[in-house]
Symmetry: C3
Subunit: 211 residues, 3 copies
Amino acid sequence: LPDLPIDPLPLQVLLPWLDLAGLAVFAASGALAAARKRLDFVGACFFALITATGGGTLRDLLIRAPVFWMQAPTPVLLCIGVALAAWAIPLKWWPERALDWLDGAGLAAYAVYGAGKALQYGISPVPAVAAGVITACLGGVIRDITAGVPSILLRHELYVTAALGAATLFVVLTTLGLPAPIPAMLGFLAGFALRGAAILWKITLPAHRGA
Amino acid sequence: LPDLPIDPLPLQVLLPWLDLAGLAVFAASGALAAARKRLDFVGACFFALITATGGGTLRDLLIRAPVFWMQAPTPVLLCIGVALAAWAIPLKWWPERALDWLDGAGLAAYAVYGAGKALQYGISPVPAVAAGVITACLGGVIRDITAGVPSILLRHELYVTAALGAATLFVVLTTLGLPAPIPAMLGFLAGFALRGAAILWKITLPAHRGA
Amino acid sequence: LPDLPIDPLPLQVLLPWLDLAGLAVFAASGALAAARKRLDFVGACFFALITATGGGTLRDLLIRAPVFWMQAPTPVLLCIGVALAAWAIPLKWWPERALDWLDGAGLAAYAVYGAGKALQYGISPVPAVAAGVITACLGGVIRDITAGVPSILLRHELYVTAALGAATLFVVLTTLGLPAPIPAMLGFLAGFALRGAAILWKITLPAHRGA
């Protein structure tokens, strides 16, 4: 974060963990979507991979960073491991709406991580927030469209708003100069809480009046 | 335009305006699609942003330019402003097929702008036209697929052809050495006229015989 | 292939041919999908172009290579030529499941070529295989989703697995040090045979139990 008054080290230590956490939960949500479509385990790995890497790939292309999963075998192997485990676990063992909770955790983690990596690459705050939101939402969109189910964006639930809350809070607190773990944790928690509240209590913003 | 016998300055002055115009109308068309799906205003901003930035993002990646909306807050803020206005205007106030006209203006502007920026980055004329066409069509495709409606490409209307007319006329006139505003204006007008004629009078090319 | 104990020249001679072969068959499959939707010949060219260039574009972005079809007019002109021919040939003249066979040949060629180009750009073997598989599958996914038909990934056929077999065999044999044409040919043949067996005899991997 060259121009921000914070120590760059903690953020650099923290962000890779958020990245792996987001990767793992999106991989599980992709594999779960494949299992519901009764795909084989290779198909589950493929869905896990495109769901988990899709958002981060776009993010890295937007900010001109090397694409993260090309640099080392870890992300691909993590996705495959998670996908095989998720495919092997019987669907009835998963809690109801498990996919939504996994997706919500990945959404919040990727919104914060995307915005943070954008700031690290010198992107200004407004596009950094937008990049965080879009790349966080992209995994779920790719998963749903490829699986042929209506995109989660259309379900009249708080979804983009949760990513927006996470990325905005993170960027605002970071530019205020707080040490990196605080904005990252608060941003993640705010986004996950918003999405969790939407799952549990169906809180929403007012819909368009439709006329 | 290093190897073309024209003064690069006028094109560089003109293109940003075509870009902002295309951005605004695609943002409006994305927000309008979201309103028809009765999404909330955050969803409308999201649809506006992916519709308006999708094509230009691919264009910049193809020609290895920095992604335009990462460089400054203006494009994101413009999309959000247009989206909020479009969402707030009652749907019945919009002229019939308003989305198609907005989309047609964005299509023609982006086809010209995409081809022009490709030429500026040293891409040769044939791929420059192709890049202009694909990136101009991409916004509408992303909007339709994400909104879960049949892609405009499948509606048996002149659509890709309008973008192709705009980009081809622009590139041909530019390589003939005309000063930049003339190819840009004529290309835009040709593309918009073709698309408008398709909207008004349903002119089409012969469909495949289906056998 | 800087760190691999093979002569890079033969691979560099061979890969462009695999690339053109994959491009041509994917272009034909895109144009055929457009013809089935009764699109006009411009629409067929557009579908051919996005089907044929989609996977290779993502591959080149992932490995930070210049996007292949921006470098010369050949790929675009090849796609257009193939698309016009495919559109003009009556659908009943095509062998049954012609689209699947074309798609299978493109799939195997692109899986090998994608993995090989990734190795050439210094990507390590695991992400190179993953990049080969994803970019090989992407053309068919783009074609199907844009055409509004269920993605081939969901048809409970061996598809991703064929790409995985081709890319894995190629990368393993290459890292074992075999001269380039052998891994490339064996990888292509293994992938095409797997896909062909799936088309002819409906061989599959076990589906998820669905519970």
